[in-house]
Amino acid sequence: MTGAPEPRPVIPAGVGVLSVLAVLLLTLPLLGLASRTPWADIPQLLRDPAVLQTLRLSLVASLSALALSTVLGVPLAWLLARVEFPGRRLVRALAVLPMVLPPVVGGVALLLAFGRRGLIGQVLFDLTGWSLPFTTAGVVLAETFVAMPFLLVSVESGLRTMDRRYEEAAATLGASRWTILRTVTLPLTAPSLAGGMALCWARALGEFGATISFAGNLPGRTQTMPLAVYLELESNPPAAYLLSFVLLVISVAVLLALRDRYLGQP
């Protein structure tokens, strides 16, 4: 607004030093990883069937978790944002609890609910002879449990901050509720949905604790990339470095996709 440039703020000495330390703490590990990644082995490692299997499983499971989170999370976010109902605050608190819950605890809880002797799992097993733990479906469930809240929070806040009068304008033009949702509400909240989906997917892809305690670590069935990294660190460190680097690249890609949200400040 004003023509004159803002005066440069004077940086207190302590703030500068601590900020530099913080940046080093956050970036040095990444530099370390990049420096030790065995670039020359990349072609060979990417042909390794075991690595490919893990990669494929990770993508399938995380994308399935993303799909499940979207299908279940968007309607719940809408309900939480738009409908007053008794216990709404409680439902919201419970729905985002996995964000702050240690993932291992989440895995144990999933086991106690969906395990063969679990609350629902036992009934399921008695009826069908099938149980979730130690299956790829179990991985998807664990990842959804941990990742869906990220999507939920983002979409709900998008719905809350949206100007609802656009929906009223659509209504006066003859649009039904469903048409309004499809042609006005979702397009106007698309940035929040996209952001929530990216965060949700990244969280699902990186999920470790809940997965290993609920679904175990079976190559080809439940062993995702983070689990493989952890194991390879013992037996074959270069492979662990490489897989880690792949995950880092994906994370950077997600961050770039979200740059308007998190890197938008000048």
Binding site: R165, Y166, T172, L173, S176
Partner: protein
């Protein structure tokens, strides 16, 4: 003839709106101060706010009837609404905004776009069809919003402060275009505005709402000639008082007494034009006029006149020449005397 009629009662957070009005094929301006309930009234008619009692009908069709448990959804009322800041869908082009109402009610894409194009042409914006709302000027956005509302061929048109979001330059041009467009619209138009000029130039009839109730209805001429509320008095630019008349003297409700020329009795309004008020430093002698002492409470200077606000019984606004103001030494404040001829005072029954 299409008639829009409503009788609305609505309670919200300690505020009560109680208003009944009807409009034939004419433009009725709903005017009044901010917070009077104008927009709420419009939202009730549009079906966006639910009445607590009363009814809304359009061309004999019941849109709301609280007693009869009828509430027609906004989407099925057949009303065109232009919102205060237009609310053009930001992710659609001007053309797709105008076509929206047709598309969602089942018109095929090609035909909807062709008709939308004709409506854009009608408001003089055929060349802006592909522009996003963010690329339109305020006046253009207003015209697109109007075209969008008209494209559904509504039975009545509701406009909420259609010019308030515009700057002074585009307001005049947009008002002229809107006036022409409303002339050719065949149906009732309700126009909410707080701007007297807008009301006077666009509407056939005014409905004044203050504090949730209708205080006066009539043409601009009728209202300015005999204002019956603070808002209408401001529109007319007169000092307005309520009082009780007996034998040519009116005892004012807020204190003070005024001698009037005509015969009147009972509860009356008293209107005094500011230009009819003379101000003196010392009490003028020997004139058969209303004279009372007051204190200068403030003044507004214009190019060729000064409006002086006087605290007293009654308080009054006087309009005097800058020369007279200089003589009075207004900036010094202090006591002055106001004088008004009995023949300059208008009274009419309450």
């Amino acid at each position: 003839m299409t008639t829009l009629a409503c009788d609305i009662t609505l309670h919200r957070d300690g505020f009560t709106l109680r208003a009944a009005l009807s409009a034939a094929s004419e433009t009725v301006a709903i005017v009044g101060p901010n917070g009077a309930g104008k927009t709420t009234l419009l939202r009730c008619v549009a079906g966006l706010a639910r009445l607590d009692a009363g009814h809304v009908t359009l061309a004999g069709r019941t849109l709301d009837d609280v007693a009869g448990r009828v509430h027609v959804e906004p989407a099925r009322r057949g009303l065109g609404v232009v919102f205060q800041d237009y609310l053009l869908f930001p992710h659609r082009s001007a053309l797709d905004n105008v076509a929206y109402g047709l598309r969602v009610t089942g018109t095929r894409a090609a035909e909807a776009r062709a008709r939308a194009r004709a409506w854009l042409d009608d408001v003089g914006l055929a060349d802006r069809a592909d522009a996003r709302p963010g690329q339109l000027s305020g006046g253009q956005a207003q015209r697109v919003a109007l075209a969008r509302a008209l494209a559904t061929e509504p039975g009545a048109l509701l406009l909420d402060e259609p010019l308030a979001a515009l700057d002074v330059e585009s307001r005049q041009d947009t008002r002229r275009r809107l006036r022409q467009r409303l002339r050719s619209f065949d149906g009732p138009v309700l126009l909410v505005t707080h701007d007297p000029v807008e009301a006077a130039t666009l509407a056939d009839r005014l409905v004044v709402i203050e504090g949730g109730t209708i205080t006066q209805t009539g043409t601009v001429d009728e209202i300015t000639r005999r204002p019956r509320s603070a808002w209408a008095a401001r529109l007319a630019g007169v000092n307005l008082y309520q009082g009780h008349a007996r034998d040519g003297r009116v005892t004012l409700a807020g204190g003070g007494e005024i001698t009037v020329a005509g015969a009147c009795h009972g509860a009356v309004f008293v209107a005094i034009p500011p230009a009819a008020v003379a101000l003196f430093r010392s009490r003028p002698e020997g004139t058969p006029r209303n004279v009372w002492a007051g204190r200068v409470d403030g003044f507004d200077s214009f190019a060729d006149r000064v409006r002086v606000h006087l605290a007293g019984a009654p308080p009054i606004t006087a309009e005097i020449t800058p020369a007279a103001a200089a003589e009075l030494d207004l900036a010094g404040g202090g006591a002055v005397h106001a004088a008004v001829k009995a023949t300059e005072v208008t009274t009419y029954p309450r």
